[in-house]
Symmetry: none
Subunit: 420 residues, 2 copies
């Protein structure tokens, strides 16, 4: 079934709040096999809402509406809703009892503004609101289902989880949807496209869609399919992923399965380290502690992360990490020699199994002809190996820092897995 | 002028990513006096995109489109765009040179897939992409402006900031909007609302709108007004801000003025340090390098930031920062005594003028009855003072880290300005 999500509220149109309701609803519908074909946001305006309802009516079978159900004057959805179905608003006894009860429990009396919450379009199916006072309303027009919910996220989520999603599963004949996302690092979108070209072309006849989702420092590849048999769909996607692994093996660092929290690259590497009972330390210059903070962001980091040094100045590199003074004169701080010493010496200092070091020119200033902005040297070290590698990123300070952090993490991943 | 924002991408419809582009664009348009009347999201589907363009054409004067411009096969926007205007796609020499240059700089050759990025609808106004390869395209149809941009947030933001917003201001007759945002730290949204209640009520008759914009670790208060006379608008807002300063003086740490990059708290403190020719070092435990990375993110950080140590384990606190072993037995790592020693000793180690130290329980585990998750000790040190302070944040690991970093920075700000 095709669904549309309609969000009503001026606060979204002026950019005051991000529309998180739509993404949440989309995720939930996707999991039960309802396809979202459009999302729209309009303001608290009679014509705009009416127009949006009409258009959705011509396109979709389910229209989920959030927003515009509060007790205050700028909320006009309910009136437009009733007019759209050509019915009057009537006071619903059960809703009135619920609203009265809601206020009684909080030691407050029902005022006329709140009593108006019990007015609903005649003949609509009421959805109880266990987290607030405005009820949800489910109407039908020529087989199209319109469901109106409050815009407050937890009120809407309560209605969806308790009533609407179970009702969809019970009352509609829904297909199964399966997604899996492959996470890659160290290769661009177009380079991937070239490598997987034939494989991608063949997907068309296999009812599987591929999407490229580039992010700073990584590219995600999402495979999705729709059908009736959950295990068959999963097998089909997994079969394609097996082939993809052969094409992109050295770039793949993990997977996201739909409905689970997406893992960060640092979480994936932390899990490998935890499993092998190994520890990590870092010496970060141009990234200034950013990579350490990503490792520290993973719950349980204290088992893995011994600590870090951010020797931002050359003086600190010398005094705190004991880099030889000659390195700066002969090679400079952004050099293979410098990151090699930083990695092996910080590893010794913290007594960790592995270490990462990063030194580069993040920008916007500090570049030279020989070492332009974006030049970053990274080294990873274990007890018996130190591997330096040079990267040339772009000219945006923030993205250089993010890209260097992810590239360094992937280098460590490969070292641990003995892929280098 | 009325604008619509059209987002294209299956990844949004399935709820894989939140549509942050729309809210960002809405904010920017609002700031220059362009009203957003609708936001829509459709999938990577020829009919859906074409239908959305047609509808927007009937309703708006400006249509800003994001998504669907990458080099890979799931992107079909450009083709639909050309068809909508009834023109062919042609290779643009300047875009081709830009794309070639982009790859050359990264030591890579142009493959046919990337070369296709230079294909644009005939006669369109090209918008340069300084952060990627897909150009922006500006077309007109019967006076309605259609502007298509890539979906990657920083590429889209670059085009908007560098080209599109300045062009709108220059080419359209827009009302004048004046905004100024007051940045506060150390007080919650509802506590502010109580303090400023009377002042806020009086704004209604002064054509000034107030918005509360809470963020982890700070609350921003945006005052905005719209009219024709820029200096009158500015004077009106500044007059109100003078009053607001009297009410909230000790919580205000800075301001954002429209058209300037919003300063981070770390940027504000870095500017004060630079002006006074003073330097900083840090010892971060539970924040794991996050605060260092915020200071390092400020361009020119090397003048200010001597460096940091992230002594994540007690062993590292002892060995690398020389915290007395007795501290852990008698007080624990999350204690006034520990952060005092961390701050004063890291300051000595790096030879900096000031130092910050942070030690706490970020969660989700590691809490005790005495020191629950969210307990964080912070100290700031100068040559003659060490000030420790205890904070009790919540139970979300990420928010605890962010809040601790901002609280620590504000403590340093007060120490430098001799407010404590």
């Amino acid at each position: 079934m095709k669904a549309e999500i309609l969000t009503i509220g001026d606060e979204i149109l002026i950019g005051q709040i991000t529309n998180t309701n739509s993404v949440w609803i989309a995720q939930q519908l996707n999991l039960i096999g309802v396809q979202v074909s459009q999302m729209s946001t309009v303001g608290d305006d009679v014509n705009a809402i009416n127009h949006a309802l009409l258009l959705a009516f011509t396109r979709a079978e389910i229209v989920l509406i959030t927003g515009g159900l509060g007790p205050t004057k700028d909320d006009i959805t309910k009136k437009v809703f009733a007019d759209f179905f050509g019915v009057p608003l009537v006071e619903d006894k059960i809703v009135l009892a619920d609203v009265t009860d809601y206020f009684a429990k909080r030691g407050r009396e029902l005022n006329p503004i709140n009593r108006a919450q019990a007015m609903v379009p005649e003949g609509c199916r009421i959805i109880k609101n266990h987290n607030g006072t405005a009820p949800g309303m489910w109407m039908q027009k020529d087989g199209v289902h319109f469901i109106s919910m409050p815009g407050v996220p937890y009120e809407m989520q309560g209605m969806m989880t308790e009533y609407i999603l179970p009702a969809f599963k019970k009352e509609f004949h829904l297909p199964v949807i399966y997604h899996k996302t492959v996470l890659t690092q160290g290769i661009g979108e177009s380079a991937i496209a070239e490598i997987v070209n034939d494989w991608e072309d063949a997907l068309v006849n296999k009812n599987i869609r591929l999407a490229y989702l580039p992010q700073p420092g990584m590219v995600k590849l999402r495979l999705s399919t729709i059908g009736r048999d959950a295990s068959e769909l999963r097998d089909n996607v997994e079969k394609e992923i097996d082939q993809l692994i052969q094409l992109l093996e050295k770039y793949i660092f993990g997977y996201e399965t739909y409905g689970e929290d997406p893992p960060s690259l640092q979480k994936i590497v932390s899990d490998i380290l935890r499993e092998k009972k190994k520890t990590l330390s870092l010496a970060e210059s141009c990234t200034g502690g950013y990579l350490s903070s990503l490792f520290a962001a993973v719950p349980g980091a204290s088992e893995i992360l011994k600590g870090s040094i951010v020797p931002y100045s050359n003086e600190a590199k010398q005094k705190l990490v004991n880099v030889d003074a000659t390195v700066f004169k002969e090679h400079g701080a952004v050099s293979s020699e410098c990151v090699k010493q930083l990695a092996s010496k910080v590893r010794e200092k913290f007594g960790s199994d592995y270490a990462i070091s990063i030194s580069g020119i993040a920008g916007p200033t500090g570049g030279t002809d020989e070492k332009p902005v974006g030049t970053v040297w990274i080294a990873v070290a274990s007890a018996d190996k130190v591997l330096p590698l040079k990267f040339q990123f772009g000219d945006n300070r923030h993205r250089n820092i993010v890209s260097a952090a992810h590239a360094a993490t992937n280098m460590l991943r490969k070292l641990i897995l003995k892929e280098v």
